[in-house]
């Protein structure tokens, strides 16, 4: 069911990182939801304009890094007359607190939304202990 309230505008935030980019173009921070179930962590990111093939996901030392490149050639020949938002590549990184089973990470993209499922390793899953 769709929410009956009015959809508010969330301004795009420019990415601020510790390391600077060597190229001047601006990156943006994708709006992200993260939720956890007993066996997995799910990261949902909004990256409008990014195709499946242009998304890179890396996990190293519990640091999850996602980057999405827009196909900027689609704007060729277009001359702006009025603009309300800017466009650019997306990048965002998270430090993960639970242990993730790297080999089983899966992702899918639909309507510009990337959904990453990061299954927890067996030891990190809560276990119910039955008392006999």
């Amino acid at each position: 069911m769709a929410d009956p309230k009015e959809l508010a505008v969330r301004d795009k935030q420019e990415l601020v990182t510790k390391e600077e980019k060597t190229v001047p173009a601006r990156y943006y921070v994708p709006s992200t939801d993260i939720y956890e179930t007993e066996d997995a962590l799910t990261v949902v990111m909004e990256m409008p304009g990014v195709e499946k093939k242009d998304i890179t996901v890396g996990l190293e030392n519990d640091r999850l890094r996602v980057e999405g490149q827009i196909d900027f050639s689609k704007y060729e020949g277009l001359e702006p007359v009025y603009t309300e938002f800017n466009v650019g590549h997306y990048a965002r990184a998270f430090m993960l607190s639970s242990k993730i089973d790297q080999d089983k990470i899966s992702g899918q993209v639909e309507d510009g939304v990337l959904t990453l499922t990061l299954p927890k390793v067996k030891e990190a899953q809560p276990r119910r202990i039955t008392i006999s």
Binding site: M1, A2, A25, Y35, M47, Y82, V87, D111, G112
Partner: protein, 141 residues
């Protein structure tokens, strides 16, 4: 401003600066266009025609409704964000809700020729300029 792709990074930066420069444009403000409500739009000129681009991530085609009447365009729809009940939320930044926005263009458009496509969360509307509104070349005698 026409974008050349000789150096993609340089070109992107220039394009971003170009987009910024038109943030203060009053091109739409003369009409009751509800500037700044969802979805945000960018308007481009392509030859004689206009191209309107909006970011609508997570909205399925079937939840989008586009109407044209005269020079006014209406974009309406709903976005929902769903999660499994038993999940614990760590972060919540994606917004959901209904939206409707009317944009009145300062040029005449051919309502029958308007094309809309939605791919990867980007809505692209192609609006051909009305024949009667196209500039005519005047021959100097």
């Amino acid at each position: 401003m026409v974008v050349l792709l000789s150096d993609p990074f340089e070109a992107l930066f220039k394009f971003q600066q170009g987009l910024d420069a038109f943030r203060t444009s009053d091109w739409l403000q003369s009409g009751p266009s509800g500037g700044g409500s969802y979805p945000l739009v960018n308007v481009f000129r392509k030859g004689d025609d206009l191209v309107i681009i909006a970011e609508v991530p997570g909205i399925d085609k079937s939840n989008l409704e586009i109407q044209v009447k005269g020079n006014t365009l209406r974009i309406a729809g709903a976005k929902s964000v769903n999660y499994p009940q038993e999940a614990g939320l760590h972060r919540r930044e994606r917004l959901a809700g209904r939206f409707a926005r009317a944009v009145t263009l300062p040029v005449g458009i051919e309502a029958d020729g308007v094309k809309a496509e939605c791919r990867d969360g980007i809505l692209v509307l192609r609006l051909p300029r009305a024949e009667r509104d196209k500039p005519k070349a005047i021959k100097v005698e």
